[in-house]
Symmetry: C2
DNA sequence: CGAACGCCGTTACGCGTTTCACAAGTTACC
DNA sequence: GGTAACTTGTGAAACGCGTAACGGCGTTCG
């Protein structure tokens, strides 16, 4: 895997690494994007409950991060809340979504429509209008041609053609480990830009391609290792920062 | 001194962050454990090909990390290779496994035996003798009582009892998001120590419990975000460190 | 035989991220 | 009006972690 270092593009040197780059394009690290995605879900749920404003430490508590982290993340994307009302849920949400979702819809390819693939498919079906799993690919003749959760499964032979036709730039890889690298190669050839990989194999792809490795094996083995240690989660956890533990949620 | 100036060397908190703790128990970071799990799989495959020795830069290439990283990781766990032969696959593997696997078998509980749960089950079935998914739990009456991949599915009502009986300290959480926190609470009550969470919800558990969050939604949204950026993963990749790019694999 | 090479172990360093801490602002209440 | 109690925003320290670099040591070849 490629670790999880951020992606800052430092052109010169010192430079304003945080905040917005001059071209309006904010430079956001990988981890920050992941948290923003989480904040978005939380705020979305929150809006359903009629909440209109929220403080950083409240959102932090929901997200399981520190309050300073929340404020910093919002600073990175250039969103400001009122000093005493906290963050306005609607505008905050809009600000995050304008960054995470693009202006146009992005289609995703799912390579390997097995158990895991189907689970992912079901989970994402119709959840984000601007992020749609638009095509499946497999080698199993029994699956090719069928439509699962509104997603048509193609043959792997058609991968490059379909990906090009639909302008797909994101792929989810859920094939058996042995065929993972070959499938990744095919995806790269067809011009993929981002890859979410579920195989246990570290893929070799060009540096321009973003890869996120969801290594379930490592996760479980890590869990097993730390289950034997005295303490579970040594590093960061709930930063109280300010405010009491009690009456955390009067919330308007 | 490390950073810039020796400011606070307070023994209470600064502490020896790296290296081994004095009690022979190595202090290994979460990320290092994850990489060791990866090395282990790679070395295991490698052994199948008859390879007996491997250099740090070769293993690094396979794992997609830098050679210095591999050497440091092995230093952390106290394994040394021969200066000129590289690392001996068998002994290295034994060293990693003695750290990752414990002395005794660890049983794992799978909570939520749906599509995702079944996929995980199939993936781990009989793969690690010392890490076994020993019990499933679900609320669906159609699933309770059945045996899937050699794993008997119990009712959620029996969770605390079965977990206690089997001495389970590790759990995989794959239930619908709405019920995730309640299931986590039940697991914590029954004395769980580690949790691999697949729901999109940030769980609130005591600090002693290790939690690894596999957030597929964030992963995909991050992938979508970076697919729109100009470059994908610019920073470090293949650490050449030394040695040429060509003839990377003469290998014995 | 010795010198040059290649790899390992280790230490020091640098970078990215997180947290601390405080100025500035806003509201509410006396 | 004044002040007390909250916020947010943000510079700067602290921290975690990966990388560069150097010494050491076997091997190999001149
Ligand atoms: N299930 C997990 O939780 C888990 C954990 C770790 C890793 N993984 C990995 O995820 C992958 C998928 O797991 P799964 O449970 O869905 O397996 P699965 O066997 O149910 O599904 C694999 C699918 O890939 C298809 N396929 C096979 N070869 C292919 C190829 N060359 N090109 C395209 N499609 C191909 C198969 O037809 C099948 O539909 C596996 O690599 C597994 O190791 C899964
Ligand atoms: N599938 C993915 O890739 C993906 C991605 C992100 C998140 N998730 C999450 O993973 C979870 C499982 O996904 P899935 O596709 O397997 O869903 P699923 O519906 O196929 O399986 C859920 C299982 O949990 C059981 N269940 C329901 N309530 C329960 C309870 N209170 N206690 C115990 N078991 C209960 C159900 O009977 C079912 O068997 C979901 O929360 C989903 O959001 C999955």
């Amino acid at each position: 895997m490629d670790g999880d270092i951020a992606l800052s593009k430092v052109p010169g040197k010192g430079w304003a690494d945080r905040a917005v780059a001059q071209a309006g394009k904010p430079v956001v690290s990988r981890k920050t994007v992941g948290r923003l995605s989480l904040y978005r879900r939380l705020l979305d749920n929150l809006r359903g409950t009629g909440t209109t404003h929220i403080y950083s430490h409240q959102l932090a508590h929901l997200a399981g991060v520190s309050a300073a982290q929340v404020r910093r993340d919002f600073m990175v994307i250039g969103y400001s809340g009122s000093p005493n009302r906290g963050y306005h849920v609607d505008t905050c949400l809009a600000s995050i979504e304008s960054l995470l979702d693009g202006a146009t819809r992005q289609d995703v390819a799912l390579v390997g429509v097995g158990r895991l693939g189907r689970s992912v498919l079901a989970h994402f079906a119709g959840r984000r209008p601007l992020l749609r799993i638009a095509a499946g690919f497999d080698t199993n003749p029994g699956v090719i041609g069928t439509t699962i959760e509104g997603c048509l499964v193609h043959s792997m032979d058609d991968l490059e053609r379909v990906v090009a036709e639909k302008g797909i730039r994101i792929a989810i890889l859920a094939v058996p480990p042995e065929t993972a690298q070959a499938a990744a190669d095919a995806l790269v050839r067809s011009g993929i830009r981002s890859l979410v990989d579920f195989t246990a194999v570290p893929l070799h792809v060009p540096d321009e391609v973003f890869v996120d490795h969801m290594d379930i094996t490592s996760a479980l083995e890590s869990a097993a290792f730390f289950a034997r240690q005295d303490q579970g989660t040594p590093p960061m956890d709930n930063g109280v920062d300010n405010g009491s533990e009690a009456d955390m949620f009067p919330m308007i």
